[in-house]
């Protein structure tokens, strides 16, 4: 073990100054970079995003076309790296489209949750009183109902479609966000700078979004990251049940469902979506954990 050398005054002072100069964000990202797991997750997700973007312009085959002269339930081959499905469609193309759908649903849901959850949470936490009571009671009542059940019913009522699936999942997912933001707003509103802003005549909207929100951004980003895998999983689950996005669009859930039926014949068709889902969900969770560690002030060393 190396001998411990006390820092010189200059080093010590320099270190303190340097540390004070580093902003919250840079500091957080520096810690995130040190977290190997989160970094690996970030790289994987970047690749996945690239695949999804590429899929907008190009896939090896049209994912919806039943290819002529191609066998169904084909195993991996040079022409079809992941094989073909029960109708003879190229699985790689369908998986790429599935990645696209998953990311759109994940990020889209997260955006809805952010907008609704943050606004409701800020209003409840800042104004307190009856408005907070109404919101809190509402959340507490609906918190007990399983989100998946609400999502299924709402989705059936709204009708099929990519937008509707996001709305159906958000219907319950916003409540966690609202609770978190409410708690943050509750504590931040007591800070002296909020009082100072109020004393300088700032309007309520300005205080909410200009003063409280920026100070709660860390936990909000972490929570928004955790919403993405939940949304992806819910979408896959709905598609697996056959309630998901309409055919012929491919979702990892619907591919898995078709693969399950063909499991004795062709195990690969089940394997690809299961792998893709597991790794993607893990990656988002690792990233969320990494972000939480990086931005949670209690974890700061």
């Amino acid at each position: 073990m190396a001998a411990v050398v006390a820092p010189s005054f200059e080093e010590y002072a320099g270190g303190t100054v340097a540390r004070a100069q580093v902003g919250l964000w840079r500091d957080g990202f520096r810690r995130l970079r040190r977290n190997r797991l989160a970094l690996a997750a970030l790289i994987y997700l970047a690749v996945l995003l690239l695949v999804a973007v590429v899929a907008v312009f190009w896939t090896p085959y049209n994912p919806a076309t039943i290819l002529p002269n191609v066998l169904t339930y084909l195993g991996p081959s040079a022409a079809h790296p992941l094989g073909t499905d029960e109708l003879g469609r190229d699985l790689l193309s369908r998986m790429m489209q599935g990645a696209q759908i998953s990311l759109i649903v994940g990020v889209g849901t997260s955006a809805i949750v952010l907008t609704v959850g943050v606004t409701v949470g800020l209003v409840a936490g800042y104004f307190r009183g009856w408005i907070d009571n109404v919101i809190s009671v509402f959340i507490n009542v609906f918190y007990g109902i399983p989100g998946i059940l609400v999502a299924i019913i709402l989705y059936l009522v709204l009708g099929r479609g990519l937008g509707n699936i996001m709305i159906a999942i958000s219907a319950t997912a916003w409540m966690d966000m609202a609770r978190l933001v409410r708690g943050q707003a509750f504590s931040i509103r007591e800070r002296e700078y909020i009082e100072a802003a109020r004393a300088s005549g700032a309007k309520s909207g300005k205080i909410l979004f200009g003063h409280i929100l920026p100070n709660a951004l860390g936990p909000i980003i972490v929570q928004a990251t955790f919403v993405i895998p939940i949304a992806i999983l819910t979408e896959a689950f709905l598609s697996y049940l056959g309630l998901g996005i309409p055919e012929p669009l491919a979702s990892w859930g619907s591919i898995a469902s078709e693969g399950y039926a063909a499991l004795p014949l062709e195990p690969y068709m089940m394997l690809w979506p299961a792998l893709a889902l597991s790794i993607t969900l893990l990656a988002f969770n690792f990233l969320g954990d990494g972000l939480r560690d990086a931005f949670d002030p209690r974890q700061r060393r």
Binding site: Y193, R198, A202, P214
Partner: protein
């Protein structure tokens, strides 16, 4: 005399807690003339800050202004709507707070926060705001303001943050600036600079200043008139000379006696006021200072003394003082004299405790056992 910029009449603010009704401010009346510097002193929890918060309508639940009038330019602030009051806050009456470290939003640039204070009101034209921000920082003597506007609060030292707060308070050219313990969190040398700055700004801008502090040295250095508060009431009011040289209320006298003097005899123990301030839920009968007062008489236990004139421009709420004052003025005397009067000499018969000039020289921070903020290079 010109019309006062602020006229507070019989203000009472209570807090409705689970333990009972905390009567934090009771029947407080005072006025501030344009350009005047008024000090409000008293120990922690005596209602100084709550008075200021009441003026700006910033008292939060469970607190509530239960009585009184706060007249600003002929309008009662207590009768305005929230929006009307918001329009006055920061524009006509500005406030700066005790702890400049926590009064600035840590995630927003200093310049942005000052600009924001101007954007909240339409008093300053939008085109001028950016330049005015730099001018303001220059005015409060922040060096290199063009670069500093882009700094975050943590890049400012304690004194500079308070300067930025003052710049923010003055940004809309208010008629009245309420400074709530503006120097308490700062070290002594920076304290002196901030006070000097406030004094200069008062002369330059003509904005009246209400300075709230528990530090008598700070009051002596800045204010022309002083209110002394105890347990939620004003117990004495007078010019700064009167308060320091001829205090008429035993509480004021005790406060002054407990200021450490640089010229005091080394062997002398620093005197403190015995006992604790009363519980604001269960106040004592009669004069609220009676449990701690060395001069109390029988009457002090049963009747609360009203605040009355005891000398030109000086008012106090003390039976003993009033009795003496009436006698001096040749008016009728109050007969129930001193069966309970404790030992000690009444302030009125004493030599002046300190002159204003002396008090201002006192290293006032010594009176404060509170830790001093981080060292700053201001």
């Amino acid at each position: 005399m010109t019309a006062p910029v602020l006229d507070v009449r019989n203000l009472s603010t209570h807090f409705f807690t689970d333990d009972g009704e905390v009567k934090a401010v009771r029947n407080v009346s005072f006025s501030v003339a344009p350009g005047e510097t008024l000090g409000i002193v008293g120990e922690s929890g005596c209602g100084k800050s709550v008075t200021a918060m009441s003026v700006l309508g910033l008292v939060q639940r469970p607190g509530k202004v239960v009585n009184g009038e706060i007249m600003y330019k002929g309008r009662d602030l207590l009768k305005l709507t929230k929006e009307e009051l918001r329009a006055i806050r920061g524009r006509d009456i500005a406030m700066i707070f005790q702890d400049p470290l926590s009064s600035l939003n840590p995630v927003l640039k200093v310049g942005y926060q000052i600009e924001e204070a101007m954007h909240a009101h339409d008093k300053i034209a939008n085109a001028d705001i950016e330049n005015r921000t730099i001018d303001l920082l220059k005015q409060v003597r922040v060096s290199d303001p063009t670069r500093r506007v882009n700094d975050f609060p943590h890049q400012f030292s304690g004194g500079m943050r308070q300067r930025a707060m003052i710049a923010m308070g003055l940004s809309n050219k208010p008629d009245l600036l309420i400074a709530d313990e503006p120097t308490t969190a700062l070290d002594v040398t920076v304290q002196a600079q901030i006070l000097e700055l406030l004094r200069d700004l008062n002369e330059q801008t003509g904005a009246a200043i209400i300075l709230i502090t528990h530090n008598l040295g700070v009051v002596a250095g800045l204010c022309k008139r002083v209110l002394v508060m105890y347990a939620g009431e004003i117990v004495e009011e007078g010019t700064v000379e009167q308060i320091f040289e001829a205090p008429q209320h035993p509480y004021t006298w005790s406060l002054l006696r407990s200021v450490p003097r640089i010229d005091a005899n080394r062997g002398h123990r620093l005197l403190s006021i015995e006992g604790l301030p009363p519980d604001l839920i269960a106040l004592p009968d009669g004069c609220k200072f009676n449990p701690r007062c060395p001069f109390r008489i029988e009457r002090c236990f049963s009747e609360s003394p009203p605040i009355e004139q005891v000398a030109p421009a000086q008012h106090a709420a003390c039976w003993v003082t009033m009795q003496k004052a009436y006698a001096d003025m040749g008016a009728g005397t109050i007969t129930d004299t001193s069966p309970g009067a404790a030992s000690g000499v009444h302030p009125r018969r004493r030599q002046p405790l300190a002159t204003v000039a002396e008090a201002a020289d006192v290293p006032a921070v010594l009176a404060e056992p509170e830790p001093v903020a981080e060292p700053v290079n201001d």
